[in-house]
């Protein structure tokens, strides 16, 4: 689960990681008040879950009172388009107002779990403030990775690797070591799946400050982080995906026109692929769960029907624990209740498949039966063509 920059910085401060003075504002008046309190200059930063905010005009410096008003007016309420938001952009409802700081040098630092080695990777570079993927591509030798085993936790030698790797002057090493150690503790304590600071700055006064902050917390760990759960911002999510999560379904919106209802994530991905291969395009990924019940199927239908671009629906269920006859009853129930406006192709296989097919055939509904997966994809592709 992603949190906003200002929320990530709140977590940083709990671990004594220095951040600029900052406050959240929702209106231009609030921004002006905060600027008066901090003194000029201030930086006004749009709070949306997307990278590249600066380039999109969502982060601006204000040196005078007039500029504060101008900048706040231009950012609050704007639709921010960055390379991560897509062309439709994201509406900015709130901003973070921060006291300006003097920048001597910009560094990069992130912490991520490394799935291959089951360890925590600290990634850093002297080339902060720019797109780290570009740095990785053009000058990979300027990126340092330090791997920390959760069995030992962070040790002094890890910190030396970071400090010497960044070629820091001696007098800054102590500050940097404390900061990296604290960030590691924050990462572990909050089950982060990503923590990134770009840039991490050295000020003219030789302080090291997290000028930016990005944190993504492992959704599976929410049971032990009620404080992070409260940071969830529903405005940041696709409304259909948000609704799906309330039903306990895994739904991802795509831009095609074939709606998919599938049980199991792997089979759902494979179904999308085969729809594409048949010449059509998937409108969504929807995993109703390996052991889905009739209610999950009905909710799946409801979600897909709320997407106006859907011209046909493909149900692909491999009945295991969930028997096909129960599933068929669910489909009939949902189809009757929701008054289907587009054709539905049903492919099911597995436990009690014959009984299931009979229930569908006897229902009087206009459902199109498919004998196998390949057949199902071809049939649905023909419908939407």
């Amino acid at each position: 689960m992603k949190v906003h920059e200002y929320q990530a910085k709140e977590l940083f401060r709990k671990f004594n990681v220095p951040t600029p003075n900052g406050k959240v504002a929702y209106t231009t008046e609030e921004v002006e008040k905060i600027a008066d309190e901090f003194g000029l200059p201030v930086v006004v930063k749009a709070q949306v879950h997307a990278g590249g905010r600066g380039k999109g005009g969502g982060v601006k410096l204000a040196r005078t009172k007039e500029e504060v008003k101008e900048v706040a007016d231009s950012i609050i309420g704007m639709t921010l388009v960055t390379k991560q938001t897509g062309a439709e952009g994201k509406k900015v409802n709130k901003v973070l107002v921060e006291q300006g700081v003097s920048i001597k040098k910009e560094l990069y630092l992130s912490i991520i779990p490394d799935r291959e080695t089951a360890s925590v990777a600290i990634v850093c570079s002297q080339d902060g403030g720019m797109d780290i993927e570009d740095v990785a591509e053009k000058t990979p030798e300027r990126i340092i990775t330090v791997s920390v085993s959760p069995a030992t936790g962070i040790q002094p030698f890890h910190l030396r690797q970071v400090c010497f790797g960044l070629e820091l002057p001696k007098e800054l090493m102590k500050k940097m070591s404390a900061l990296v150690k604290n960030l590691y503790e924050c990462f572990v304590a909050y089950d982060c799946s990503m923590l990134e600071i770009n840039p991490l700055i050295i000020t003219e006064e030789d302080d090291i400050i997290a000028l930016d902050a990005k944190i993504d917390v492992d959704g599976n760990s929410m049971f032990r982080h009620p404080d992070v759960k409260e940071m969830h911002d529903p405005d940041e999510e696709d409304p259909i995906e948000l609704e799906a999560s309330q039903y306990g379904l895994n739904y991802i919106n795509l831009d095609g026109n074939v709606g998919n209802i599938v049980n199991g994530a792997g089979l759902a991905m494979a179904t999308m692929d085969i729809v594409k291969m048949a010449g059509a395009s998937p409108a969504n990924f929807l995993d109703v769960g390996g052991g889905a019940n009739a209610e999950a199927i009905e909710n799946g239908f409801r979600l897909i029907m709320s997407d106006p671009s859907v011209k046909g629906i493909l149900i692909n269920v491999f009945g295991g624990i969930l028997r096909c006859d129960i599933l068929a009853q669910g489909v009939v129930q949902a189809a009757t209740k929701l008054k289907l406006s587009v054709p539905v192709v049903v492919r099911m296989e597995g436990t009690n498949v014959e009984e299931g097919r009979k229930i569908l055939a006897d229902s009087g509904l206009e459902l199109i039966n498919a004998v196998d997966l390949a057949d199902a994809a071809e049939k649905v592709a023909k419908i939407v063509a």
Partner: protein
Amino acid sequence: MSVFIDKNTRLLVQGITGSEGQFHTRSCIAYGTNVVAGVTPGKGGQKMDDVPIYNGVKAAKKASDANASMILVPPPFAADAIMEAADAGIELVVCITEGIPVMDMMRVKNYLATKNTRLIGPNCPGLMTPGQCKIGIMPNTMGKGGGPVGVVSRSGTLTYEVVHQLSQVGLGQSTCIGIGGDPINGTNFLDCLAAFNADPETKAVVMVGEIGGNAEEDACDYIKANIDMPVVGFIAGLTAPPGRRMGHAGAIVSGGKGTAEAKIEAMKASGVHHCENLGKIGELCKKVF
């Protein structure tokens, strides 16, 4: 022969008294698996049907001589359950639980490195040696025993699909293994391929991967260097948008890594017969094997 489990496997179930635990224990017993003990802390001395329950894995192992464990406990307690089983010296631990925090699995993985325990999963359907033993939640109707094909997959229902098609074209299976959809798991493709390679009964392998990580690429390197029998491979997620988690916690393309294209490329480069169309994987196996 088979890999990891057979008719001599003695299974204990951690979390046997929960609703999932009861349901799937009964299903395993109905399949023919020898379930010798259950563990639910605080319910020691009771029984689930005819299965004696113990307060801990150590006591259960001592009393029942179990050599495998199936874990069906909720995510907050699953990592602890895996480590308890390894601590008790259980050789094979199969963790079905979905939703274990990554940080917990990191600790588990580092702990297991000091033990002689094989973990399968988490977030997996388990494994099955058709006709002999099932550990997990795969449907009992799945699988056709005594066959030459080993199946290894990251996904549950995708395994069912593949095994169904294999059975339909008359190809039986030696063992079917679901290694799970999490980013950090106990047993990977490579481990399963090595086991299949050492099993005289397994003459061919179907490997079902998906986007995320590079376990498929590692497996392909291994295949190229070590495996002579035919391998058919499928990768799910060609149409998955980058940066999004596709249901499985481990199924994500991030920073251009873990793409389906790269995995398919690796398969082709290592002599794996890549299956483009999942609907036809049974036919392809029949042709290749």
